[in-house]
Each structure stands twice: as C-alpha cells, then as structure tokens.
C-alpha cells in the first residue's frame, strides 16, 4: 500500500503540472475544449486517488474545484477572468494540500476555506453568489474584469444519452486498493446509474478467494457526458478490470431498470439465480472498439534507486573499458587491426550505453518551469506588479540531478526580476511600456550544455547605483574603471547584497552571489546582460549531467589532474621572456598583449617538486565563472577525455581547490580541478617557470 501511495503522489505531481499548464494556457487565451478537459481530468484524477487513501481534506477541496470545472466544461459557467483567477488560486491550494497529505508543511489555516466559498459561489452560477465571492476576496473584487463569453458548442454537451457499461473488476484492481463500489459511486456523479450485478462466476464460500473479483456489473448510465469522459472514472483501474463502454442513441431516460439479476427468494431456499442479461443493444452501436480508447501507455515507473545504481554501474563500465584499452595498447596486441577494431566497437558501444542510461534519468525542465508560474503569481500579488510569465523550451531535457538543483537559483532570479527589474505599472506607462511586465524563462541545448535564460522587460540594471553600492561595500575601488558588462556582473560579487535591498520578496538575506555559488556548485556559469530601460537577461550555462564531464588530463608533479573543458580557454607553451615577476609571489605571463596571472598548480596544491621541474613550460589558460583568467603551469598535457565524476566529499573529504575525483584508464585516481577555487587563491601562491 505504501508503494501505491508513493505512485499516487508521483502522479499527483504530474496532474498538478498538467493543471498548471492548462490554466496558464487558458489565461493566455486558449479556449480549446480539450485544454479544459485536461484541467478537469487532472483535478478529477487527484480526487480519485485521494479518495482511495482517505485523504478527506484533499478530496473535499478537489471535489469543490471539480464542481466549478464541471460547470465550465459544460458551458454553464462562462470562463471569465474571475473564474480563471480563482482556478489558478485553487490549483495552488490543491498543490499545497497534496504536499500536506504527503507529509509536507500543513496548509495555512484560512487559506483553503475562503477559496472553497469562492469556488462554490462561482459554481452556483448565481450572480449573488459570485458577488459574494468577489466580496470575500479583495483581489478578485479589485479585478473588475468584464466576463468574456466563450462558445462551448464544440464541447459536446448534447442531450442525455444512455451508455451501456460492462465492468468486471479483477484481483489486480482490488490489490491496488481500488474498489468497485467507489467506482460506481463516482459513476453516479455523471448521471443516473442503473446497475445489475452478475454473480455467474461467483463460487460458494468454500471456493471463494476473498481477494479475487468475481462479480460483473452491467450498468446503464443516463448522462449528458461524452463516453470518453465517463471512461475517465475508470482511469485508475482500466488495466486491472474488464471494461466495455458503448454508446446507445437513446435520448429518452432509461425506461425501466434492467431485470434483477438475483431473484430474491422471499420465502424458503433454495435460491435460484438468473444470469444477468447483457445490456440491451440499442441502435447501431457496436460493442467494440470503444471510442476514445486510450492508447497503451508507453512508459513504466522505475524506482529511482535502480536507475542511479545502473548509472553507477555504467560509469564503472566506462572506467573499465578505458583501463582495458590502455592495457591492451601497451601489450602485444598493440597495432593488431582486429583488436583495434574490436576496441573501437567496444568504445562506441560503451558510450552509447552510457548515453542511453543517462537519457533515462533525463527530464524536461518543464517540471521546474511549472513551479515558477506559481512563484510569479505570489510575487505579483505582493508587489502589485502585474507580470506575465513566458516559458520557452520546456521540453529541453537535462539530468534530474541538475533539475533538482535548478529550482533555487531560478526562484531567486525570478523574484529579483519582478521585485527589482519590473517597474510599477505607473512607471511602465510613463515609459510607454504595457502595464503588464513580462518575465521569460527559456531553455535550450547549446554546445553540450543547457542554457537557461531568465529575462525581464523591466528597467534594466541601474549601473550608477550598482557602482555606488560596490564602492560603498568595498567590492571595487572608487577609481576603478569598469565596462558596462563588468558593472552589471558586480551584482554577483560576494557582499554586494546590502541590507537596504532586503525585502519580503527578493531580499531574504541572500544576494545574487548566493545564486552564483549555487550555479557554480552545479558546474555552471551565470552571466547578466542588461539594457537600461529595456530589461535584463540572466544566462545560466549548466552541464547536462553531473555524472560525466569532458576534461583535459594534465600531469602535475607525479599526479594526473583533470581540468574541466568548460573552464579551459587554450593551452600553449611558455617562453621564458613572456614571464614577469612582481614582488615575491606574483608572476604574470605576457600573452598576446595582455598580462594574466601565472599560477604553479603543483605548488598551490602542495605537490612535491619533481626532478624535471625546471623544464616545465606548458600552461593552460583558464577562465572562471566571473570571467577572470589565469594561466596554470603544469608538467605536461596528456590529452582530452571524458571522465566519470566521483564525489570526493562522499568518498574522502572536501579538498580546497579540488572539485571531485575520477578514475583513469590505468586505474589511478585523478583529481578534478576546481578552477574557481584555484583562481580565487591566485594572489596567495604563484611561481615562476624557468627557461628550459
């Protein structure tokens, strides 16, 4: 039962996502009846599942919400702005109730009740009720929207018709905590139910398996709903029961109930049982195929631990494969065409397996983007700035380990965009902009990474103010000359966020430096561009996965080290004349007209100096996330390769300057360099190469 409960909450997340998407589409003008159906189905499915687990608060709220949606779907209730706004709020509360039912934070007292009144008033259809509802909610009252008439002609809310349903629950259905009676009760919400039970297959008590389902119901349902919607009642059980739904063209109500299946013996036994008749065929209806039969589901649910375990194993396979290649290369097989071809095939196959396994864990960023629309609504309500959230590239896939950690930086950036970026409506009007601001999140794959852009059409970064603050806070000197881009990027500097910036919305005591740290921890980079009066764009560049990365393998002392390719600009040979020493510990390299700090990686990491140290003349030019560059002096460059990332913290402990570790083809452990950490220490340890 616990397992089913887990699945239920996973499905709830999906339904809440569909609900959110549908409501946003409607808010943006989508009036496709199917969108309304999707919304209805999402709420209905949550209710159905919740009732199985006795989650009464959730069932009750979903039921009230569903009532309004039923009215909207049937065209009885116009889809005006008040209804849309209420539905959006109801979706938020529904999500909170789901979270609460799943052991999360309790929904605040008084949050759901006024909304229930509003939902009830709106679904009652009475203007008085709606007025009351608006009075209860000052925000709704303030909207003063004109109702928009929507044509629901295509919604198929035709005259009542009779549906003949044959329903035989099986063992699997009951085993998953579903119950035939609950299904029948649910069905009765769609119209008038006349059910007859067939007991032909029912054994006597001594042959009865109490878990097996033996009964078959023949149900006549008089309803105005389309059969595909009635079928949704069986959504949870369809694969675990026998089900046939056929449509009769009878317009008149059911004339008479089906003949009783069991002839009750009014007096003495034996009792005679008459088999239930099949539902009377009416009109030209064919028993099968059933209209709108859902297609076979093309996905399965797999425990995440199993996927993670598989990814670990494939990572081991990748490492072992490189060990094999290296060992064979050094052995007598070296140069044998057959062996080389087989190794190449193995390499290709291993990469394909790795890619395929990683793809299993890849998820569209939609899951995170969806959460942002609620955030926008909440911030919008507090700031009183009307904002529209636009998302692009929701289907872009990225490893779920990255997805999970995307939420925090995005949340902070969107809060900032609305609180600091978007101007109040009156200022926007004065600037000739539409009163409603726009915040856009877009995702795309580029160069093996995922790029996420958060942009707003607000005022842009106030560079004068940023500069003032930065000087005041000691981030830059009063005389420092910065380009516009450098000034914009000052907002990521540690200590830039100041107390007077803290507000209920975006302050919360953390600044954009925290966002940058979060992004960097993901192996990502963040930059900002801004045009005054037109808005700002934050760009996040993140790896697609945290499990593998491309790196440059270098020799430092007698150790192999990996420099992430994302941080590497170029590699080159150092000529003695290009090196300038300033003071005791600072060395600069003259590189094409510019001076960059030259860092001795071995000395910084504490590796003992080797015998050939004086002969070193190879360096890598690297760039950290803030765009700062430095040259790293190494013993040798061994080559570029994809490495499997192994957490150093989890297996050993955190080491300053080292991001993680990997296992090389020869079985040795190599450390993966944390370029950001190394560059931030650049003033502390420097060295000077000597001429060969």
């Amino acid at each position: 039962m616990a397992g089913i409960r887990v699945v239920f909450f996973e499905e709830c997340d999906e339904h809440l996502g569909e609900l959110e998407n549908g409501l946003i589409a409607i808010q943006e003008g989508d009036r496709d009846p199917e969108t309304i159906n999707i919304i209805f189905r999402a709420v209905h499915s949550i209710k159905g599942g919740a009732s199985i687990f006795g989650l009464e608060a959730l069932v009750g709220f979903a039921h009230t919400f569903e009532n309004l949606l039923t009215k909207v779907r049937s065209g009885e209730k116009a889809l005006d702005e008040a209804v849309i706004k209420t539905c959006l709020k109801a979706a938020d509360v529904l999500a909170d109730l789901v979270r609460e039912a799943n052991g999360g934070a309790a929904v605040e007292d008084g949050k759901a009740d006024p909304l229930v009144s509003t939902l009830t008033a709106l679904s009652s259809g009475s203007s008085a009720g709606a007025e009351e509802a608006e009075e209860e909610d000052p925000e709704l009252a303030a909207l003063q929207f004109q109702p928009v008439s929507v044509s629901f002609a295509e919604l198929d809310v035709a005259a009542p018709k009779t549906l003949a349903i044959r329903f035989k629950p099986g063992l699997a259905m009951y085993a998953k905590a579903n119950d035939a009676i609950l299904i029948l009760q649910e069905l009765s919400r769609y119209g008038e139910v006349k059910a007859a039970v067939n007991t032909d297959a029912l054994p006597l008590l001594d042959g009865l398996d109490p878990r097996e389902g033996y009964l078959t119901w023949h149900i006549s349902l008089l309803t105005t709903q389309h059969p595909s919607l009635v079928r949704e009642v069986f959504e949870f059980v369809e694969n675990d029961c026998e089900l046939e739904i056929s449509e009769a063209e009878t317009i008149a109500p059911i004339a008479a109930p089906p003949p009783p299946v069991i002839e009750a013996p009014p007096t003495a036994p034996p009792v005679s049982f008459a088999p239930a008749p099949a539902p009377a065929p009416v009109g030209p209806v064919e028993a099968a195929p059933v209209p709108n039969q859902p297609q076979t589901q093309g996905s399965i649910r797999v425990d995440l631990d199993r996927v993670d375990r598989m990814i670990d194993l494939v990572s081991e396979l990748v490492i072992n494969q490189s060990i094999l290649v290296q060992r064979l290369a050094g052995e007598r097989f070296n140069g044998q065409a057959e062996v080389s071809a087989a190794l190449e095939d193995l390499d290709k196959l291993t990469r394909e397996i790795q890619d395929s396994v990683m793809a299993i864990r890849a998820q569209p960023v939609k899951a995170v983007f969806q959460r942002m629309s609620r955030l926008v609504r909440e911030v919008e309500a507090v700031t009183r700035k009307p904002v529209r959230l636009v998302t692009e590239g929701d289907a872009t896939e990225v490893d779920r380990t990255v997805i999970e950690r995307l939420s925090d930086p995005l949340t902070h950036m969107i809060r900032n965009a609305i609180d600091h970026g978007i101007e109040p409506p009156e200022k926007r009007a004065a600037a000739g902009k539409p009163a409603m601001g726009t915040v856009k999140i877009a995702a795309a794959h580029r160069g093996g990474r995922i790029i996420i852009e958060v942009s707003d059409d607000g005022a842009g970064i106030n560079r004068e103010r940023v500069r003032e603050k930065a000087v005041e806070r000691g981030v830059i000197g009063a005389e420092d000359r910065l380009t516009d881009e450098e000034t914009d990027n000052l907002i990521f500097a540690a200590g830039f966020s100041t107390a007077d910036q803290v507000s209920d919305i975006s302050g919360r005591g953390v600044g954009m430096d925290v966002v940058r740290s979060g992004v960097q921890a993901l192996g990502g980079r963040i930059t900002v561009t801004s045009v005054q009066g037109q808005g700002s764009t934050f760009t996040l560049s993140l790896p697609l996965t945290l499990a593998v990365m491309d790196g440059m393998l270098v020799q430092v002392g007698d150790q192999g080290m990996v420099v992430p390719l994302t941080a590497l600009v170029e590699s080159f040979q150092v000529a003695p004349g290009d090196v300038t020493r300033l003071g005791v510990e600072t060395t600069f390299l003259h590189l094409r007209g510019a001076n960059v700090p030259l860092l001795d990686l071995g000395a910084m990491l504490g590796y003992p100096r080797g015998e050939d140290e004086d002969g070193r003349h190879v360096a890598l030019l690297v760039e950290d996330d803030s765009g700062q560059r430095a040259a790293l002096l190494v013993n040798d460059i061994l080559g570029q390769q994809q490495v499997v990332i192994k957490s150093l913290e989890a297996n050993y402990r955190e080491v300053p300057g080292v991001a993680a570790a990997t296992i090389l083809g020869d079985g040795r452990v190599a450390l993966i360099l944390d370029v950001n950490a190394i560059l931030s220490r650049r003033r502390r340890v420097c060295a000077e190469p000597k001429a060969a």
Partner: protein, 89 residues
C-alpha cells in the same frame, strides 16, 4: 426458534482489508441458519459485497436460511447503487 439462529454482527467497515476475515467468519457459521446484523455498517466494498452474495448462495445450496437484518442506510444505499438489493430482502 429465532433464538437458535446464530447472529453475526457485521463490522462498520467492510472494505477490501476486511474481506478475508468476513469470509472466514461466514464459513465458520455454515451448517445452519444464520442472521447477519448490519446496523453498524458504514462502508461496504466490492469484495465484502461478493462475500455476502456468495454466503447467500452457499446457504441456499446448503438448504439453510440466510438473512441480513437492520441494514444501515449506508448499506442500503450501496446495495441499491450496485444492483444487489436482494441481500437486504
């Protein structure tokens, strides 16, 4: 005569979890007339419904009387909904 008919008081909740015990208890009463007291029933599920229907035909096949009395409103409603009113007669 009525005093000799064994009586089984049905529990309030007759859901899926209650079905195995109900079948067991009913089976233990075989061999004579039985009367089930249904005043407490607030919830009747599909598996318990079929256990009661099976018991009814078992008693019929054994040639003994089987009855259910004092049906709670909830039970009456459920029987009416699923076309099994015969259990209440």
């Amino acid at each position: 005569m009525d005093r000799l008919v064994p009586e089984l008081r049905l529990p309030a909740v007759l859901d899926t979890a209650a079905a195995p015990a109900l079948v067991q208890e009913l089976a233990a009463l075989r061999g004579g007339a039985v009367c089930l007291e249904a005043a407490d029933v607030t919830r009747l599920g599909g598996l318990c419904l079929q256990a009661l229907l099976s018991a009814r035909s078992t008693w019929a096949s054994d040639g003994h009387a089987f009855s259910i009395k004092n049906l709670s409103p909830a039970m009456q409603e459920t029987l009416a909904l699923c076309g099994a009113e015969v259990l209440g007669t």
